[in-house]
């Protein structure tokens, strides 16, 4: 591997991202190459001068500011407390119980004492249906009379 190829790996070497074998090979080269040593030194200086100022100091005031905002959050907004499915479980259960109870009462209604006798007496049911069909038939006769007087 020539000098330029080795120099291309200089940053990876600096970052410790080379394999053990490549690292050893590059280290052996850097130890004897003033140009690569200079490049590394130059980068370290640049990093110290321009990137170190971006290192932030720890601040307890910042922590307290965040916690003040956290405490002011509603439990729903913070997404914490009971998991979502648990929070919805109670209303969902109540709704299904009431729906089931309503359906049960409706279907069982004919058996109650308040139900008209016509539905309770099997003998009477055909005559009730018969009277309904006779009403429909009367309506048809009436409508024919109106359209064809």
């Amino acid at each position: 591997m020539n000098h330029d190829q080795l120099k291309d790996q200089l940053f990876a070497f600096h970052d410790g991202e080379l394999s053990a074998e490549s690292h050893a090979r590059l280290k052996a080269h850097v130890d004897t190459c003033p140009s690569c040593q200079q490049s590394l030194l130059e980068w370290k200086d640049t990093s110290r001068l321009f990137l170190e100022p971006l290192r932030v100091k720890s601040s307890e005031i910042f922590v307290q500011q965040v916690m003040r905002r956290v405490r002011a959050l509603e439990p729903e907004a913070s997404g914490l407390g009971w998991p979502l499915f648990v929070r919805w479980a109670f209303p969902a259960l109540a709704l299904s119980v009431s729906s089931f109870a309503g359906a049960f009462v409706y279907t069982e209604q004919p058996l109650t004492a308040a139900t008209p006798a016509i539905f309770l007496d099997e003998q009477e049911q055909p005559s009730a249906l018969g009277s309904l069909s006779s009403v429909v038939a009367d309506d048809q006769i009436l409508s024919n009379e109106v359209t064809n007087p």
């Binding site: 940053f11 321009f50 290192r55 932030v56 910042f62 922590v63 500011q65 916690m67 997404g79």
Partner: protein, 202 residues
């Protein structure tokens, strides 16, 4: 078990406690990760006050979606990703507002100067020299694209591996290497130019 492994388990225990409703436990996570999140925000926004506001937003956002945090990646990577997305959004908003407004506060390339307050340097340095130097540093940094500054801070300041950076930036390993390589070369070019102009003006 490694130190990092123990730290991850501790994080998970705290996260579980917070999810179960112990909000005060969240302070430990904020305390642990505040410098990194604020540093990342600062590298993108280049404004100390805005960076701290953004970092607060990041922690509140992270709390709100803590239940959706999947434990297959580290909490720090997840947090960094929220911070990165949030600050890039802020930057876009700022640029939109700047386009709408004619009131330009700064005259540098990105106008990302503001109230940048980096760390203090050597005590022997006079206040004027220090201010001049920091203004120069800021000028150079603001001339780099925000995603270059971000990747430089993740690598150089936070000391993250390429793999960890890949997870945060949601890109390929090759993309991380390329971006980092270009960012370094650009920063070196700009810094050489800056140092040259400094020395010739003296």
């Amino acid at each position: 078990m490694s130190f990092t492994g123990i730290a991850i388990i501790e994080d998970l225990e705290i996260i579980d406690a917070v999810i179960k409703g112990d909000r005060e436990a969240y302070a430990a996570l904020v305390r642990e990760y505040q410098t990194r999140v604020r540093g990342l925000c600062l590298s993108i926004l280049l404004n100390a006050a805005e960076a701290d506001d953004a970092a607060q937003d990041v922690f509140v956002k992270a709390l709100s979606s803590l239940a959706s945090y999947r434990k297959d990646s580290s909490f720090s990577s997840w947090l960094y990703r929220i911070a990165s997305n949030h600050c890039m959004d802020q930057l876009r908003k700022r640029k939109r507002q700047k386009t709408d407004s004619l009131d330009r506060v700064t005259d540098n390339d990105d106008g990302e100067a503001g109230a940048f307050q980096p760390r203090m340097a050597e005590p022997s340095e006079s206040l004027i020299e220090k201010t001049e130097r920091l203004a120069g540093v800021m000028q150079v940094l603001s001339s780099l694209p925000a995603d270059y500054r971000e990747v430089l801070v993740l690598r150089e300041v936070e000391g993250l591996s390429y793999e960890a950076i890949r997870v945060i930036l949601k890109c390929s390993l090759d993309a991380v290497k390329t971006r980092l390589h270009r960012a370094r070369h650009l920063l070196q070019d700009k810094s050489r130019h800056f140092l040259h102009s400094q020395s010739s003006s003296k």
